[in-house]
Symmetry: C2
């Protein structure tokens, strides 16, 4: 058996086209404030890519750049101002920040209706309580990818490997809301392979290259690899792709699987946020 | 084999004594505002019990009673006033509310630092993100009960049956934070008994009397029954106690198991909240 390849690039294009269509049809032009602090080269590349993709989709580019020596108070004031600015419909604070800054406190200043990364406590709470809200882009992208390929979630055994705030934990919440039976595994899980073999849908976001081998996969399972690592052999995920594709029913490649979905969902979230009134408590909007 | 009985009354007394000791040793007298709306007899009994227990522990009783015809705006104004009142250190809005009121919107007006029931979006978000915050009383009580009996959580397979905002979902988060491998099951789970048999620790909060029978329990497992139902044969839980106690290693009785823990944790949360400065973002306080 050779697994079906779940192409994220294709689905991401569809998501971006849909977001661009919504933006073109809307009265309100979304404006995304990408906030970049310091000179981390990886962050600079990520932010540049995000800005370029946003502009192509009809989103106004409201980039803010700060030096590595910016103070907590200066950055807080800037985020407050972006929060108050009606032309700014989305705010993305690129992480990590330099160590002298309190990232959690700064993220908390983003109004939930502009929280296009879904990282504030309010957004996390809305997800946990099953209320409408903006969701973190990567797990939302995984869900979109599964849906695009018609993979049924209701009643399925889903296993999430990894419990980060960015991926593992919100992924589990999203799957639970879609009626999967959800298990979260992590570094303290006693028999990881046995737990993973229970999965109809296995989502791996552990940050360890090649962690999941063929013996951890039930024949025919869907395997989603969130990991991405630079290795001497090129980009690799958390899943041993070559071995696992002979067992799985479907699998995401690395690169070209989950990666493109993350940025696509940022665009989708930005389009969604622009449709929200300020302080949209209880508003009905895109939720998964 | 006959399971050890996990007595909640005994542990609850210890928790209450500890909270009373903290209150007696503190400069600030906690004041709990219990907000009761309308004439639901069960709610009236619950609130009366909570008030009595709080007073016995040295908490100031700041009860507020509203008629069933109170408007959303009137209740919102009252909660705002309690939020602003420095003598009120905890606010408990007794649910359910009459159907003309938007309970979620009213709960959201409780400042997170006074949210002794742990029900606001901010509290749920802090729990989901693993940050300090006030946790919902019932799952916190289950954790306390497990700890009091020395039941190891790290690496254990924990299965939670039920995914309510009040119990199932926060329970899963608390267990995950304590390094258990956590599965959440619910009405759409395909083979509930098989999933439950994986559990070293099985926590049942499904709201269905006698749902869990002996075939769903691994020999030696710890079984925590959150359900409570009035039946012709007296109070019963979600677990078939008579059958399961012959298989399990430890089990909570109904009544006298989780029930007493819930109110004890309300007192503990109220003592904790009184130690918090207003707007205690990022404060280090009791968290699980």
């Amino acid at each position: 058996m050779t697994a079906k390849i779940l192409d994220g690039r294709l689905v991401a294009e569809q998501v971006v086209a849909r977001a661009a269509g919504e933006i073109a049809a809307s009265d309100r032009v979304p404006g995304l404030a990408t906030v970049l602090v310091g000179d981390d080269p990886a962050s600079a590349i990520y932010v540049r890519n995000k800005r370029r993709r946003c502009v192509a989709a009809g989103i106004r580019d409201l980039h803010r750049k700060f030096g590595a020596d910016v103070t907590q108070d200066e950055l807080a004031a800037a985020i407050h101002a972006l929060g108050d600015d009606p032309g700014v419909t989305g705010i993305l604070l690129q992480l990590p920040l330099p160590p002298h800054l309190d990232a959690a406190a700064l993220v908390s200043l983003i109004p939930p209706e502009k929280d296009v990364d879904g990282l504030t406590e309010t957004s996390a709470g809305r997800l946990a309580l099953g209320r409408p809200g903006l969701r973190p882009c990567t797990p939302l992208g995984v869900l979109e990818l599964l849906d695009a390929h018609g993979i049924a979630l209701s009643g399925a055994e889903a296993v999430v490997v990894g419990r980060s705030n960015l991926v593992g934990k919100p992924m589990a919440q999203l799957l639970l809301r879609r009626d999967a039976t959800v298990t979260v595994c992590h570094s303290r899980t006693r028999d990881l392979a046995a737990a993973c073999r229970r999965a109809d849908i296995l989502i791996v976001a552990a940050g360890l290259p090649g962690l999941i081998t063929a013996d951890a996969v039930k024949p025919g399972a869907t395997v989603i690899d969130v990991g991405i690592h630079r290795t001497p052999d090129g980009l690799r995920g958390d899943v041993d792709f070559t071995a696992v594709r002979t067992v799985a029913g479907a699998i995401t490649p690395v690169p070209g699987g989950v990666g493109p979905m993350t940025i696509a969902m940022l665009l989708a979230n930005t389009a969604t946020a622009a449709r929200l009134p300020a302080n949209a408590y209880g508003a009905t909007f895109l939720s998964s």
